[in-house]
């Protein structure tokens, strides 16, 4: 299972990459693997205001529709338009080409509720036992 450095993670398998006052968000390799082939992604609209741990997107795979929870609060600055026609990018490249959105971080203190790479790796290991 791929877990890159310098990202923060939620227990629901979303990631956030913080750069100054913005964060890029997406779902982890573990999440895309459990979902299987991703067929559709309902992304938040630009300018929507997301709240930490609240539903921000829905991911559909062949078998099911699953909610995605925002790792941080903030306004959506940009969404990944490529995913509309190529949702499989999330399967192929969950941390790079398969990013969901960039948000303007509302409260940087919220990052304390997230796991770092080492902690998330440990967490994923407990799940696969």
């Amino acid at each position: 299972m791929l877990v890159p450095d310098n990202l923060l993670f939620t227990k629901d398998h979303e990631w956030a990459k913080i750069e100054k006052d913005t964060a890029t968000i997406g779902i982890t390799d573990f999440a895309q693997h459990s979902l299987g082939d991703i067929t559709f992604i309902d992304l938040p609209k630009p300018k929507a205001v997301l709240s930490q741990s609240k539903i921000c997107a829905t991911v559909e795979s062949v078998k099911a529709a699953s909610d995605v929870y925002s790792p941080l609060s903030g306004e959506v600055l940009k969404i990944n338009g490529e995913l509309a026609n190529s949702p499989e990018l999330v399967n192929k490249s969950p941390y790079e080409a398969g990013w969901f959105a960039v948000i303007k971080i509302a409260d940087l203190k919220e990052k304390d509720a997230l796991m770092d790479t080492a902690k998330y790796k440990e967490y994923v290991e407990t799940l696969s036992k």
């Binding site: 082939d37 067929t39 099911a64």
Partner: protein, 373 residues
Amino acid sequence: MEDYANLKKTPLIENHNKLGARLAPFGGWLMPIQYSGIIDEHNWVRSSAGLFDICHMGEFEVEADLSKSNLEYLLTFNLNNMPCGSCRYGFMLNNDGGIIDDLVVYRISTARWMLVVNAATAQGDEEYLRQNINNDTGLKNISSETGKIDLQGPLSKKIIEKTFGINLDLEYYTFGYFKILGKNILISRTGYTGELGYELYLPAEEVETFWEEILGDERVKPAGLGARDTLRLEMGYSLYGQDIDNTTTPLEAGLSYFIDWDKEFNGKEALLKQKQEGLKRRIICFAADSRRAPRHNYRINYKGKEIGAVTSGSFSPSLGIGIGMGYVNEDIALGEGIMFRENSIVIKANITKRPFYKNGTVKYKEIKNACSG
């Protein structure tokens, strides 16, 4: 990990593990859902050939001389005019016309038959049959000693012929016995995918050998129940326990083609009554206007009113849109728009007809023709 200890396992369980299959419970069995991925396996079956482990299904061997046995009365289709070496699809109904099971019957010789039934219903089917067959009918449950693997796809014929050095000249919905690897193997030209395909009935201890032999051809990929589900749904085939069950009749399910009205059968009276009074609900097929798929139990809305629920729904890998079926309590014309609402999810779709996917190597007409007599 979930506890799978109580689930039945097919003779291929270790082969699935070695292939890295994702396993899940289905009908009381631990079955492979996917290997390389549902869409990849689906596309492979449509373009080449996929091999399925279908050992979970039930098989009964029946001795029935139709002049004495009442087997004919327990099934909705005509047995009497079936040629030996042919098979037919149809139903076993309860007194209310509800579907106890959908099954395929093989006529092995004049008075010998094989019934192939669903895994989850096999035990109930056996009980029902034992209670309802007369003394002139013999029934033996051969499920545990019978293995079944299906090779489905446009290249399936060539692959089996090359692998085993046989000629596989079978018409649709017929079968034959073939001498392969020293064994006498029943192979039928049948399937659940809409592609040219074959089902092999094997002694359980031979399943692994045949599985490995066929997989040895690089044109074959193993395919799981996930792809089996998307393949059958693209054809509009019903799945027992989901689209049909003992509370739905073949009329409501849009499957009256598999009923022979010229004969007597259990449940006929209820069906005739339903026909006369008109259907209170009926199945519809729908195609979504996007990649978004309506799912099992999503509510169906028409002109602002809730009129039913989805029984099967999925993304269609061949068509690139959401497709599905469900029951509604209104008569809606083809092409009409409906809508699904589930929390924040809103999907628009149009009523269409079976099959969703029209480019399969098996044509819909062939299925109907093969099963009526």
